[in-house]
Chain length 332, copies 2
C-alpha cells in the first residue's frame, strides 16, 4: 500500500484537520464528535447536512458552504458515521427552520441517519430525510437494499442547497430534493480497485485487461466484468440503462455529470464527456448544464460514473444559483 | 495499459473536443492548428497564452477564461506543441495591446515558444515571454537546462491573468509575472509512474515500497528514490529545499499550493496540507491563501507537489481577483 498518510487510524481526522485549515473562510470542524460545518452556521434558513463513509472526497465536506450543505459528517473510510456526530451536526446547523438530511442509499448510512433523526427530533429539532438512490446498475447489492446512492447526490446537494439558501421552507427544500432524485440516474465503471488504508489490500481484483461495469462507490460489485473496451463503447454501455430509466422526450434539457472515481486523468474524463454528449444529441436531449471532475470518488480508483439529470426551469435556476464551497464555487 | 480512451493517437483531439463542448460558455477550440481560446477573444487587453505537452490537465486549457489565460496550446501527451499553433493562438488573442507567453522551462517548450514569438513578431504582434522555473529539486535534468517549470505555473497564470484583466500594459503584466516567478518555489514526489497512451508502458519503475523525491511533471527523475515514509516526513523533505530557497522572514505571508499529480485521493492531499501548514507555522510564515487539488498533473500518477509563493498586498489582491475558468473560479 502506497499512500500519503501517517498512521492509517488517523487518516480521517488528519485529513479533516488539513481541510478546515485550508478552507477556514468557509468551514470549521467539530472534533468530538467529528463533523465539518459552515463557518457561519447556524443561519436563519433550513439547515442541510449529509454524510457517509470517508474516501469519496470531495463528497461531502467539499460541498459545505454558501448555497449548498451546512454540515458534513464523515465516517471512517467506507464506513458510515455513527448517529452521535449526525445528531451533533444537526443541532449545529439548526437555525429554527428545521434540518434536511441527505442520505445516500447504503444500509449503514440509512440506519444511522434514521436513528440520528429520531434523536434530534426528541431534542425538538424538526428533521426531514431524503434518500438518494440514483444508481441504475443494480437492484439490491452488497451493502444496499434497493438502488445505491452515488454521484447524483452532488446534484441533490447543490439544488436543495440553493433552495434552502433562497429561503424555502423545510417542506419545499425536501420536495425539490425529491424532484431531483426522481429525475437523476447514474452508472459507473471501474478500471482498477482501490485500497482502504486500514485494510492495506485492494478491495477487489481485476485482471490487466478487465473492467467492472456498474460498480458502486466502494468498489462493491456491479453488473459484470468485461474486457477493456474503447472509451466510446464503455460510455454507451453506461448511458443506455441511464437514459432508458428517465422519461426523456426529444427536446428535453439535461445536466450531464462525468464523475472521476479519483485516479482517472482529466484528459480521459473529457474523452468520456465527448461521447456522452454525442449519445444525448442523438436522442434529441440537449445538454444545457454540465459538470466534469472528481466529485464522488473511491479513493484512488480509476474509473468514472455518468449521471444525467432531467432539467426544467426551476432546477436550472437552482443549479445556477451562487455557491461557495471548497470543491464547487461560482459567482456569489 | 488501462485507459478510458479510444485510439491513442486521438487522445488529445478528442479530449479537447469534449472539453470545449462541456465549457462552451467559457472556451472554444481551433482544431487546425489545435488550441483552446476564450470564447470572447480577442478583447481589448493584453493577451496571455500558455501551452505545453498534454497530460498535465487542467493545465493549461482549464485555466483559460476571464481573469486568467486567453488561450492554451496543447501538444501531444508530454510533448511540446510546435510553433504553428502557438503563432495562431497568439494572433487569436491579440487585441492590440500585445501578448504574453507563459512558458514552463522545458527545453522543447522554450524552443518552440521562442520560434513562435519571433514569427508572431514578424507579423507585427508585440510578444513578451516569461519562463517559469519554480522546481527546486534539480538543476539541469533530463529535459531541461536549469530548473524545471512545474505547478507554480498556475500561480503565475492566475496573477498575470488578473493583471491583464484589470488593464495593465504588457510590460506591467510581464513584470508581475516575473515577480511571481521570483517568489515561488516547488518540489514534488511520485508514488507511482504513469503511462503515456502512445507508449503503453510506464515511463519509469518504482518498487512497491519506493517513492521518487523531486520528480518532474513527466515522471522524469528527481533527486533520489527512497523507501516510502509517513506523509509528514515526505512533506518535510519537500518543504525544506523550498523554504531555504525563498528569502522568508518571520511574519511573512504565503500562498501554499498542494498539487495532486492526478491519481492521488483528495483525502491524502489534505493530510499533506495539514503537515505543510504546521511547518510553515513553525517558521513563522502565515498562510493567508491556499489551493489544494489537481492543478498540474502527470496523467494518473500518484504523488503530489508543494509550491510556496511569498505574498505581498499586490500579489494577494491579484490572486483574489475574480476568475472564471473551467478549473478555477470564484466570484465575478
Amino acid at each position: 500500500m502506497k499512500k500519503l498518510i501517517n498512521d492509517p487510524k488517523d487518516v480521517v481526522t488528519e485529513s479533516v484537520e488539513g481541510f478546515v485549515s485550508a478552507h477556514a473562510d468557509i468551514v470549521r470542524a467539530s472534533t468530538d464528535p467529528l463533523f465539518v460545518v459552515r463557518a457561519d452556521a447556524p443561519s436563519a434558513k433550513v439547515g442541510i447536512i449529509s454524510g457517509g463513509g470517508s474516501g469519496h472526497e470531495p463528497l461531502h465536506g467539499g460541498f459545505v458552504g454558501f448555497g449548498m450543505l451546512d454540515a458534513a459528517v464523515p465516517g471512517a473510510v467506507f464506513t458510515s458515521p455513527t448517529p452521535d456526530p449526525i445528531v451533533a451536526a444537526t443541532a449545529a446547523v439548526n437555525g429554527g427552520r428545521g434540518v434536511l438530511h441527505i442520505v445516500k442509499n447504503y444500509t449503514g448510512d440509512v440506519l444511522n441517519f434514521e436513528t440520528a433523526a429520531e434523536l434530534a427530533a426528541a431534542d425538538g429539532i424538526e428533521v426531514r430525510s431524503i434518500i438518494v438512490n440514483d444508481d441504475v446498475a443494480v437492484q439490491d447489492s452488497l451493502y444496499t437494499a434497493g438502488r445505491r446512492g452515488v454521484a447524483g447526490t452532488v446534484l441533490v446537494e447543490k439544488i436543495a442547497g440553493a433552495a434552502a439558501q433562497r429561503g424555502d421552507s423545510l417542506g419545499q427544500v425536501a420536495a425539490v430534493a425529491e424532484k431531483v432524485i426522481g429525475q437523476v440516474r447514474s452508472m459507473g465503471v471501474a478500471l482498477t480497485p482501490c485500497v482502504v488504508p486500514h485494510a492495506g489490500e485492494p478491495s477487489f481484483a481485476l485482471d490487466d485487461d478487465e473492467i467492472e461495469i456498474g460498480i458502486g462507490i466502494h468498489g462493491e460489485p456491479g453488473r459484470e466484468k468485461i474486457k477493456l473496451e474503447p472509451a466510446d463503447a464503455i460510455v454507451d454501455r453506461l448511458l443506455g440503462p441511464i437514459l432508458d430509466d428517465i422519461p426523456f422526450e426529444s427536446g428535453d434539457e439535461a445536466l450531464l455529470l462525468v464523475n472521476g472515481m479519483g485516479g482517472t486523468p482529466q484528459i480521459e474524463l473529457y474523452i468520456v464527456y465527448r461521447r456522452a454528449a454525442q449519445v444525448l444529441a442523438e436522442r434529441g436531449i440537449e445538454i444545457t448544464r454540465s459538470l466534469v471532475g472528481n466529485v464522488t470518488t473511491s479513493l484512488e480508483m480509476q474509473g468514472m460514473s455518468l449521471s444525467v439529470l432531467k432539467l426544467d426551469d426551476e432546477l436550472t435556476a437552482l443549479w445556477d444559483a451562487p455557491v461557495q464551497t471548497a470543491a464547487l464555487r461560482w459567482g456569489r
